[in-house]
Amino acid sequence: MELAVATPGNAAPAYAYTGGKAFDAALPCIVFVHGALNDHSVWTLLARWFAHHGHGVLAVDLPGHGRSGGAPLASVEALADWLLALLDAAGVQRAALVGHSMGSLIALEAAARAPARASRLVMIGTAYPMKVSEALLTTARDAPLRAIDMVNVFSHSGIAAKPSYPGPGAWLLGSSRALMRRVQAGGTGVNLFHHDFSVCDRYAGGLEAAAKLQCPASLILGAHDQMTNPRQARALADALKARVHSVAAGHALMSEAPDAVLAALRDALA
């Protein structure tokens, strides 16, 4: 569905996937926020499941990503404000905020900025601080396609994850690379890869945000994650008093282990 979301720096229409059903703001709402150089399609199995099990679902495309227009926003804080404005536009007062990687930081910051509006916080494939090496940032700036290939390999724990995503016959390394290339190509005049990784790298408000949270929090971490190593999430988990679920997957855990992530998410949102 298309939503009119207006925040400083962005007034372009926003897109949110609703799980294969018309969005109903009266139902308990879950908002899914994708990570760097991704879009809503990393969530579709989960979003469909929850949409068909009593929830209103909004899997957003962040500004400048996928089907959402406008320029990409420059900070986690600005993206959190945009996310809250999207809830306004959808007529949602309170929602469970679920984010992956960069999206998990946006969900955290949004839950901190409007504690009464977050019913749950679930951070998937996360770490804090989410620092990016200078070498990778430089490669992202100078040779983004090469950087995409590197991150793609870092993000997967193997070459035989089953039952694959979104269904059998999909080659995860190939589909993930194709998605990142597609989103990168859509960033007219902007190197989205470098932009998104810089946004992650610069975010410094995680522990302050955690202190403001009023809702239950959960972390779902990939046991073999090389992008956001589970060890790097311990301080955040402690600060959030979060329940931690470990899934046998790498950073791309929604596609490498869709059933295990669904089970963990059902538990986290129960």
Partner: protein, 437 residues
């Protein structure tokens, strides 16, 4: 910055999509000869049918053994995913049927495998899908043949029978200017010789019967999606591909391009095309093709090495009028081949024997090592004389129109010792010479 890369081609050929079986520890890929898969609960069943979960329901739609083959071919091609089909013809039909219906139009190379030509020219026309054929090297022809109803451009990486090299970057560019995808038949080249997606093709298929399987044992096809073509954008700009970008009543009102930004084509092809047309692959066939794929890099290197030796022998023989192999400077697409096919131009090619049809027949009948049959891409060397077999109803003028001479011989060079192949050819050429005396 140095960093990790995808596993190399040889590693992917052995490992992509497969790990030791978690329930038994079996190292090789198990053959899952089962029609169907037990649901954990009614809720689990419903969620599989509604694409809320990934998994297997019924082998016509997907199967764990087939899925390994699909992932492996996609990995070798640099694609986003694949679908295994009953044959190469079924793969071509599945690609077209997913994108085109009655009233649609295709622009295709005129240098196609006969079965593909039949499907496009005769059979699909009966179902309201028209095709305009253009010579693969006629770049203006590709452009000018596109109509508002066109939904697909299609050619072979190496055309039939003259091994015309498709200028994939240029033809893909023309397709994309018009919001259309380019589909290529990669059977003759395999991903070891060329990865069409790196050159701009959007979809490809193989007759896996040939080099992917490599042993002349099974019939199968694989359709691969690069994930590069933006169906949603093409629909927004040109109104094309509502099949992927509009709700589909035949599958829960699903908008496939919303469900998967890069996998929409394969979702619809599987959820509609395999479901309804049913041209699926047997898991046993998939397993045999996987056995072949494991040695694809080794076999292709040897196929090309042997072919080069045979080509050099034939070029120097007085009974041979000309050899049509793109690595030769005499081939019209030599420069293009050097650019797109630096590892070699495969092991299927034609040459023209001096003399009459009768001499062609004498040549074929004198061969001992080469098998006279209608196939290519076997590990054994194969031969056919089109004028006396596949095209025997044509007179010499009609043959010439099709690019075939009375003495045209097609070879598929196998993995035998090259010296033995050359000895066999020498003997047969002598027999042909005697038949003309």
């Amino acid at each position: 910055m140095p960093g990790p890369s995808d596993p190399g081609f040889d590693t992917l050929a052995l490992h992509a999509g497969a790990a030791p079986d978690p329930s038994t520890g079996a190292r090789a890929v198990p053959i899952h000869l089962t029609t169907s898969f037990v649901f954990e609960s009614s809720e689990h069943a419903a969620s599989l049918f509604n694409m809320e979960r990934s998994g297997h329901v019924y082998t016509r739609i997907s199967n764990p053994t087939n899925a390994v083959l699909e992932e492996r071919v996609a990995a070798l091609e640099g694609g986003a995913g694949a679908i295994a089909t009953a044959s190469g013809q079924a793969a071509l039909h599945l690609a077209i049927a997913t994108l085109a219906g009655a009233g649609a139009h295709i622009v295709a190379s005129s240098a196609l495998y006969g079965g593909s030509h039949n499907l496009l020219h005769y059979t699909l026309a009966r179902f309201g899908i028209a095709t305009t054929f253009v010579k693969p090297g006629d770049i203006d022809g590709w452009r000018s043949a596109i109509r508002p109803a066109t939904r697909l451009l299609f050619g072979e990486t190496l055309g039939n029978p003259g091994l015309d090299v498709l200028d994939i970057p240029t033809v893909a560019g023309i397709a994309h200017e018009h919001g259309l995808p380019l589909l290529v038949d990669s059977t003759f080249t395999t991903p070891w010789l060329m990865k069409p997606f790196d050159h701009g093709a959007d979809l490809l298929f193989h007759s896996a019967t040939k080099f992917l399987s490599g042993h002349g044992t099974v019939i199968g096809g694989v359709l691969v999606d690069s994930g590069q073509f933006d169906w949603h954008a093409a629909h927004a700009r040109h109104g094309h591909f509502g099949e992927l970008a509009q709700p589909y009543d035949g599958f829960h009102g699903m908008v496939f391009s919303e469900e998967s930004t890069v996998g929409a084509f394969l979702l619809r092809a599987r959820r509609e095309g395999l479901r309804d047309f049913g041209a699926c692959m047997s898991p046993h066939t998939a397993w045999l093709i996987l056995q072949g794929l494991e040695t694809l890099p080794l076999r292709m290197a040897r196929h090309v090495e042997n072919t080069r030796k045979v080509v050099q022998f034939l070029v120097a023989h007085p009974m041979v009028e000309q050899v049509g192999y793109p690595e030769l400077e005499s081939h019209p697409d030599h420069a293009l081949a050097k650019r797109l096919l630096p590892r070699g131009c495969g092991s299927v090619f034609s040459f023209d024997l001096r003399g009459s049809r009768a001499q062609g027949v004498a040549f074929i009948e004198a061969l001992k090592l080469f098998s006279h049959l209608a196939n290519v891409g076997d590990c054994r060397s194969l031969v056919i004389h089109p004028a006396s077999t596949t095209h025997f109803r044509m007179d010499d003028a009609a043959l010439a129109q099709a690019g075939i001479g009375a003495g045209t011989i097609r070879l598929s060079i196998g993995l035998e010792d090259a010296d033995d192949l050359i000895d066999d050819l020498k003997r047969a050429l002598k027999a042909a010479e005697r038949a003309g005396a």
